[in-house]
């Protein structure tokens, strides 16, 4: 299901604090990787046989299972000026990711096995970290006809999504859920009731009222969340909710989960760190869909992330050309980048102030998203492929337009003081990034 460059490295990482929440691990360890596979795990200082391996001094660093981003826009095919297979996956590696899932809203849309197959081939030669591709739910994401979901699943689709758009017609959404019983991949939904969000530039509330922006009310999301959960409940099928932003959506999700509906959800770093107050800057780099919402929404998203009802952090990395964002807010496209800043942003804004445990953050950025999409969980265990990230929690940095591997720099964190950097990323046994 994942495709990337092949290669296997021999590495020894000495003395790092190894933290793998899913394995209950938090200890100073020496770790040896042979041929891309973790072969020895010993207490720090146990004089591992180094062979001819590359030796990484890990003292003072945190070693964790590398991250999995379930929501990336690689802009390939169609907008390679904004991002391409190589730049997007180098950005992912620099952000500590060992696997990413790419959304299907490209040009052409990933709605046939031939488009999907070409991307998989391209990833095998160009992707620094393994990439999984979601296919569209509807042809051309036009919301009219289902794609050939079974064939797409056999061709390696990691899941199905019309992300960027909702599946508007309830009958079609129901058919997709029904038919997916045969295709058997996660269905990931962008929940937006389009007649309620029409003309919306930002969250509808006191800030939009004052600034004069068209409002995109929270109910435009939660109404669609409620509808999709009702359909999933009725059909006995599971679904995944993309980039939740509203308190009411979390309430719907929890109610459905408690009734046994197989519903999962993700949240972005920007929805966890910012509110609609940020839009007062009129900076197009805080314009995204769904929009930044109120403080109650942000607090609820964080609580749901902590308690696990939201199981994954997703960047919704959405690169845009500079000239498209350097316009008045209303004319700018929705979306911000995130691959290279997600960990630092969340570590700085949530872990350091004590709002989120480091272990929870690491779990929700790695095992959580892997579980939702049925991917092998990155882990620190003998016999597991090396999917590892080495983090320097003491280091600080300031994102600037020239600091990114991504082709685009539409980050909400330009100029921010961030703590925590990635020193090394190993993805599927290969060293994908080394600072």
């Amino acid at each position: 299901m994942l495709a990337g460059k092949s290669g296997h490295d021999d590495v020894v990482i000495l003395g790092a604090r190894a933290v793998d929440p899913s394995e209950g691990m938090d200890a100073l360890l020496d770790i040896r990787v042979d041929g891309g596979v973790i072969s020895r795990i010993e207490p720090a200082g146990s004089r591992l046989d180094l062979n001819e391996h590359r030796v990484v001094e890990g003292e003072g660093y945190v070693l964790a299972p590398a991250f999995v981003d379930p929501h990336v826009h690689l802009r390939t095919p169609g907008r390679e000026d904004e991002e391409d297979m190589s730049s997007g996956t180098r950005a992912a590696a620099a952000g500590g990711y060992c696997a990413i899932l790419a959304m299907a809203n490209t040009d052409p849309v990933v709605d046939s096995a031939s488009v999907l197959g070409a991307l998989v081939e391209q990833a095998r030669t160009e992707a620094e970290v393994p990439v999984g591709f979601l296919a569209a739910i509807t042809k051309g994401q036009a919301g009219e006809e289902l794609t050939e979901m079974v064939e797409l699943a056999e061709a390696g689709a990691a899941g199905f999504s019309d992300d960027g758009r909702p599946v508007v017609a309830p009958s079609l959404m129901r058919r997709a859920l029904q038919y997916n019983a045969a295709a058997g991949r996660p269905i990931a939904l962008h929940c937006e009731e389009p007649t309620l969000s029409r003309g919306g530039q930002m969250h509808e509330g006191a800030v939009s009222a004052e600034l004069g922006f068209g409002g995109y009310p929270a109910v435009a999301e939660s109404l669609m969340v409620a509808r999709d959960l009702a359909l999933a409940r009725y059909e006995g099928e599971g679904l995944h909710l993309l980039h939740l932003s509203a308190r009411e959506s979390v309430e719907e999700l929890r109610a459905a989960q408690s009734e046994g509906v197989r519903a999962t959800a993700e949240v972005t770093p920007h929805h966890l760190c910012l509110t609609d107050e940020a839009v007062r800057s009129l900076d197009a780099n805080v314009k995204m869909n769904p929009p930044l919402r109120a403080e109650e929404d942000r607090a609820m998203l964080l609580e749901a992330l902590r308690d696990g009802s939201i199981g994954a952090i997703a960047t919704d990395h959405a690169p845009h050309a500079r000239h498209e964002k350097e316009v008045p807010f209303e004319g700018a496209p929705f979306g911000v980048t995130g691959l290279e800043t997600a960990f630092s942003a969340l570590y700085t804004r949530l872990v350091k102030p004590g709002l989120l445990e480091l272990g929870t953050l690491l779990e929700r950025m790695s095992a959580g998203p892997a579980r939702i999409y049925g991917l092998e969980r990155p882990r620190i265990a003998v016999g597991a492929p090396a999917n590892l990230v080495l983090l320097d929690l003491e280091a600080t940095w300031t994102p600037s337009e020239t600091a990114f591997r991504s082709k685009s720099a539409n980050s909400w964190l330009l100029g921010a003081n961030l703590e925590g950097t990635v020193a090394l990323t190993m993805a599927a046994g290969r060293t994908a990034y080394s600072a």
Binding site: G199, S208, A209, G212, F213, L282, E326, P328
Partner: protein, 332 residues
């Protein structure tokens, strides 16, 4: 705000804010700034009573008017204001310029910046356009209306009109009636009136009073009867051109007029009526109300000239105004 280090106490901070570079929104201003601008406007009003109306105050300065939306009052009054102060004025309209050829606002700003203008006055249909121009030129930027966001010089000329007519603003009750949702005039006026100590009620149909706007510090009502409590009734234009097709903000203009139209019999004698123009007579206001003696609509237009002179002058001469005013009168 909470991030200020406890050791950095007020007295250790610089005593004055740096000179104001732009006029983009009313929150850029403090009460003292508004009072200064209104006083300066009065001075200019006196100067315009003379036979020779031109002052040499901004001789050698260049003002560029950049208008991306149609405008009669605002563009003509900015142009005349600059000319009365002897500045060189260049007016650029979006139609018939490179904008027609798809030039971005940033590139237009960079192009205009090459002429080193002292002031760029911009009107644009999108919120934040003046901020973008400020980012890409060295000029002082004056917002002449950006989308539904702000129209600060309109609010200042309205304050000036009210103060001239009623002797003050503090403690007045102002009702702003109509299509608040689409109105930059309403947003700037709410902030400006509250800054000067007035109380403001927004009156209109539910879908045209934006949710959460009372957090600006005003009250809201859907009952047109509440305008009788006001000293000033400020009527907004129904902005049909900004409304989304099929959005059903009101069932019909007929019903809007019947429910929320400002008519003579809904007003109390002595109430002042204002409107930023252009009026849709017979929609938000009827002829009788628009033409009665207590209507200040033409006075608003006249105020526009002197207030815009004051804004241009103030931006280009950041010193203590009292001294400068004396200088102007001497020269004139």
């Amino acid at each position: 705000m909470a991030d200020v280090h406890p050791l950095i106490r007020d007295e250790l901070l610089p005593p004055h804010r740096p000179a104001r570079r732009h006029l983009i929104s009313i929150p850029d201003l403090e009460r003292g700034d508004v009072e200064r601008l209104l006083a300066l406007s009065r001075t200019f009003a006196r100067s315009l009573e003379r036979e020779v109306k031109k002052l040499p105050a901004l001789r050698g300065r260049t003002v560029v008017n950049l208008f991306y939306e149609s405008s009669t009052r605002t563009s003509s009054s900015f142009e005349l204001a600059a000319k009365r102060l002897s500045a060189d004025v260049m007016s650029i309209k979006a139609t018939g310029s490179a904008v027609d050829k798809g030039e971005s606002l940033k590139d237009t700003a960079l192009t205009i910046g090459c002429y080193d203008p002292d002031v760029v006055v911009i009107r644009h249909p999108e919120i934040g356009a003046p901020n973008l121009v400020a980012l890409h030129t060295n000029a002082h930027v004056v917002n002449a209306g950006d989308g539904k966001h702000q129209h600060p010089t309109q609010a200042l000329l309205d304050l000036y009109t009210i103060e001239e007519e009623l002797g003050g603003i503090e403690g007045l009750q102002v009702a702003i009636v109509g299509d608040v949702l689409h109105s930059r005039v309403a947003r700037s006026n709410v902030q400006a009136l509250l800054l000067m100590g007035a109380r403001v009620t927004l009156v209109g149909p539910p879908a045209l009073i934006p949710r959460g706007i009372e957090q600006m510090g005003c009250s809201t009502s859907h009952d047109i009867g509440t305008i009788r409590d006001a000293d000033v009734v400020y009527v907004l234009r129904m902005q049909k051109e900004r409304m989304l097709a099929g959005a059903n903000y009101v069932p019909s203009l007929r019903e809007y007029t019947a429910r929320w139209g400002v008519t003579r019999d809904r007003l109390r004698p002595g109430q002042k009526v204002m409107h930023p123009g252009p009026m849709n007579r017979g929609v938000e206001i009827d002829d009788e109300a628009a033409d009665m003696a207590d209507a200040l609509i033409e006075r608003q237009v006249r105020s526009g000239l002197v207030v815009r002179m004051a804004v241009l002058y103030d931006l280009l001469t950041h010193g203590p105004v009292e001294v400068k005013v004396a200088e102007i009168e001497e020269v004139a």
